[in-house]
Amino acid sequence: MAEMKDITKYKTGEHILIKGNEALAEGAVRAGCRFFSGYPITPQNEVPEYLSWRLFEVGGTFIQAEAEVSAINMLYGAAAVGTRAMTSSSGCGISLKQEGISYIASAELPIFYANVMRGGPGLGNISPYQGDYFQSTRGGGHGDYRVIVLAPNSVTEMGNFPYLGYKLADKYRIPCMVLADGLLGQMMEPMEFKFDWVDINKLPPKDYTLTGCKNRERRIINTLYMDVNILERHTWHLYQKYREIEATEVRYEERYTEDADIIVVAYGTSARVAMDAIAKARKQGIKVGLFRPITLWPFPKKRLLELTARSSKFLVVEMSIGQMVEDVELSLQGKAEIYFYGQPGGIVPTGDTIKNQISKIKPVSDVSDSGTQKLNSQSKVIYLNDI
């Protein structure tokens, strides 16, 4: 008998060199994904390319769909029959998937997907960008719903978040996404899978999937509620679930926040670059720390507010004209000064650029001095791009 090929490919903890997009794809298969459908778009093409042979190896399904609209609806079908399914895209492709994501959120099916962000709006460009924060953290499609948003900042996290993603998606019956960007997707660095190969046959059975009604009542997956009272009840049910997720699933990383006068708030690639800036600033004696939200929804509001006890200045850095900064503003409740530095266009700021922004901020509050810093009339945020 021919020896069975080991389909697990990598050992847990084994050090490998791999592209971010490929780590994401392999991580998904390792976490039990057996269905992928998607439509090509740069900078995420390595995901479908990798899965086109890798899913074949493990007996899964890969489909290059005719459009993103179809791709997400194929996931709706696959998840409805209990398969761990995935799609990935970027920018405009994710916009097309929003209709389907809204249906899947209402039907409470678990799916996992990734947006490897590219420049926008419109066709934008194919460079790393963080302009899809609002779209991701506010549900993205029509109706009152949320999806869990995980923001990796390394190839290791790209590869390991699919495991967390499917776990959360199954636990809460909710779409869960990875919000990465072109840099994280394209770069290669050493990484390791920190979780064991998931045996899909050992996953707990689901009592809501469509498997044929043999020996049981028929099941219906539906998102239509013509009776307003029933839709109201359904929406409050979703609300309860979202409150529970906000209470239990917040994830973030802190670096040097214990003694920080200034805290940089950034996610993904911006957070990586910010670490370089922070190291440089610390060498000059400026006490700066990093707060990196890992779950963008649920957003770590509570922890940010706690940090105002020690730090009175927060610098939000995003590769956009400012989106997450609004969540920071809401979280801090006016208890600290908020600065913002944005880099749109698909350009990754350098550590030095961010370091220069940090230098613009006076570590100790001096209200009489704030005249030199332009205050945005609507919000309390000081836009360092203007200074």
Binding site: R34, F35, S37, T61, I63, A65, E66, A67, V69, S70, A71, N73, M74, L75, Y76, G77, A78, A79, A80, V81, G82, T83, A85, E99, G100, Y103, A107, L210, T211, G212, C213, K214, N215, R218, R219, I220, I221, N222, T223, L224
Partner: protein, 244 residues
């Protein structure tokens, strides 16, 4: 008892207008489900349109989908569980306007599921607007002067269009406006689903179906109108049958 409700249908009374074709076709599908003994492994897919509530009417596992996306959902279902039997049920707006891409590409891929396509030349649910199948000259709520092909373009003949593809194994157009046609319609539905059970590939049955409300006709004259006006434009028959 010689006439009873098929087990494939629930007892929920359906909410269709008098003389509507949807109820007739539902019954035919229910009978076929019974005759093929597939109720316990069938997944039905409801579209967006007057038949959206069919998830209440079929006594098998059901999923309701976004407008036009049923073939994509069916693809996801069948590719991950090929042993399930899956049919989508779609109107002309759903299938031949907003869902054209899903229809054409699932047919081209030769997905092994069955589409029951209801062609009533109108958007029933939203109040009788123009469909991609609306007849030249036909009045609708968005063609108050009748469909002028110079302005509104021409209707789509779905079976003929899909017959140009290599993917489908079986395409037939039938009608439910009189008993002899209803018998033929059932035969076509049965054949299409049987082909799926035998893993033969993509099958679609287009069913010309009366919408008295949308057409502003009585149920009886709607059926006569079909014979006179619709059938000459949409000829009945088999457009593809690779497995004779």
């Amino acid at each position: 008892m010689i006439f009873k409700r098929p087990e494939g249908l629930t007892n929920t009374p359906w909410r269709y207008c008098p003389g509507c074709g949807h109820g007739i076709v539902h019954r035919l599908i229910g009978e076929v489900i019974d005759e093929l003994g597939i109720r316990e492994k069938t997944i039905g897919i409801a579209p967006v349109g007057c038949s959206v509530f069919m998830y209440e009417y079929f006594n098998c596992d059901m999923i309701q989908t976004a407008h036009g996306r049923a073939p994509a959902v069916a693809t996801g279902i069948k590719r991950s569980h090929p042993d399930l039997i899956c049919f989508s049920y779609q109107g002309d707006g759903d299938l031949a306007a907003i869902g054209t891409a899903e229809t054409v590409h699932s047919a081209a891929r030769g997905e092994n599921f069955t589409i029951i396509f209801i062609n009533n030349t109108i958007y029933g649910m939203t109040g009788g607007q123009q469909a991609p199948t609306t007849m030249p000259g036909q009045k609708t709520t968005t063609n108050p002067y009748g469909r002028d092909t110079r302005i509104h373009g021409f209707p789509i003949r779905v079976c003929e269009m899909l017959a140009t593809l290599d993917g489908p194994v079986y395409l037939e157009r039938v009608a439910v406006n009189k008993p002899v046609n209803v018998i033929r319609a059932k035969r076509a539905i049965s054949k299409a689903i049987k082909l799926q059970v035998d893993n033969k590939g993509f099958s679609l049955v287009e069913i010309l179906s009366p919408c008295p409300t949308g057409w502003g006709l009585s149920p009886k004259s709607a059926c006569e109108y079909m014979d006179k006006v619709m059938l000459p434009y949409y000829p009945l028959g088999v457009f593809k049958d690779l497995i004779k």
